[in-house]
Amino acid sequence: MLTLEHFLTVGALLFCLGLVIALSKRNAIGVLMGIELMLNSVNLTLIAFSRFSDGPAEIAGHAFVAFIITVAAAEAAVALALAVAVYRSRQTVEVDQLDLLKL
């Protein structure tokens, strides 16, 4: 018997793993991967809510996920372009090296 809690648990664990990755990775691309994982976990949660509910909330979950996927695609493209641009000017994509604003 699978309940909503099962899916929410997986979503929460996935989100936390993504968060840890996004916060701790040195490489900008690694950070991006963490963010993608977080977005995925949110999608999972939304779809789970949608599946276990009735009425207009059901379609809303799907629509939200569709928008999140769209935004994630745009975000990935821009983030990778940023990484490439940063690499071009600084010869590194390591986020702790990018400290020009630090005093």
Binding site: T3, V10, L23, H62, A66, I69
Partner: protein, 174 residues
């Protein structure tokens, strides 16, 4: 959702997805990390199928696995070997601490709340979603398309070097 098959599928997918996500964290090679990420994406797509959201599952595979993962692979392969390691900054300790704390809170909330679950009608098809997107959600839909265009233009403008911009002066014979 009942039945042995669904239960087995859920646990297999959970283990697959979470192990793959952990693989993204621990693997030293950035490319291995991306491949783990792809497995995690496929696992999440499997969850979507399990939750009878076939269309979203397919979109997940097409966009995340087919496009985003490929984009990341490109970005990695095109940066030199020296920046291809996947090590952590000094913030790894606090990050893990935060993650564990957040996970605890999440799990507490998840299991403590009495969720009002409905019957859950699994028959939500792609055409239902399409109709919703073009009626209820038409404004966000259009905004998303504008966002995609903006992201496209922005990504191209970001990576252009000055040499390339000078190349694009229209020639007489081009």
């Amino acid at each position: 959702m009942e039945g042995a098959g669904v239960n087995i599928a859920f646990y297999v997918l959970s283990i697959l997805t979470l192990v793959a996500a952990g693989g993204v964290m621990v693997s030293r090679n950035l490319l291995h990390a991306v491949l783990f990420l792809i497995v995690a994406f496929i696992g999440v797509a499997g969850f979507f199928v399990l939750l009878s959201a076939e269309f979203i599952a397919m979109a997940q595979i097409v966009i995340y696995v087919g496009a985003i993962a490929v984009l990341i692979l490109f970005a990695i392969v095109l940066t030199p070997r020296s920046v291809r390691d996947n090590s952590e900054t000094a913030m790894v300790g606090p990050a893990i601490l935060l993650g564990v704390a957040l996970a605890t809170v999440f799990l507490f909330v998840i299991h403590d709340t009495g969720w009002m679950t409905g019957a859950g009608d699994p028959g939500l098809s792609a055409s239902d979603l399409g109709r919703a997107l073009l009626s209820t959600w038409v404004l966000p839909f259009e905004i998303a398309s504008v966002l995609l265009t903006a992201a496209l233009v922005g990504a191209i403008m970001l990576v252009r070097s000055e040499a390339e911009e000078s190349e694009d002066v229209p020639d007489a014979d081009a």
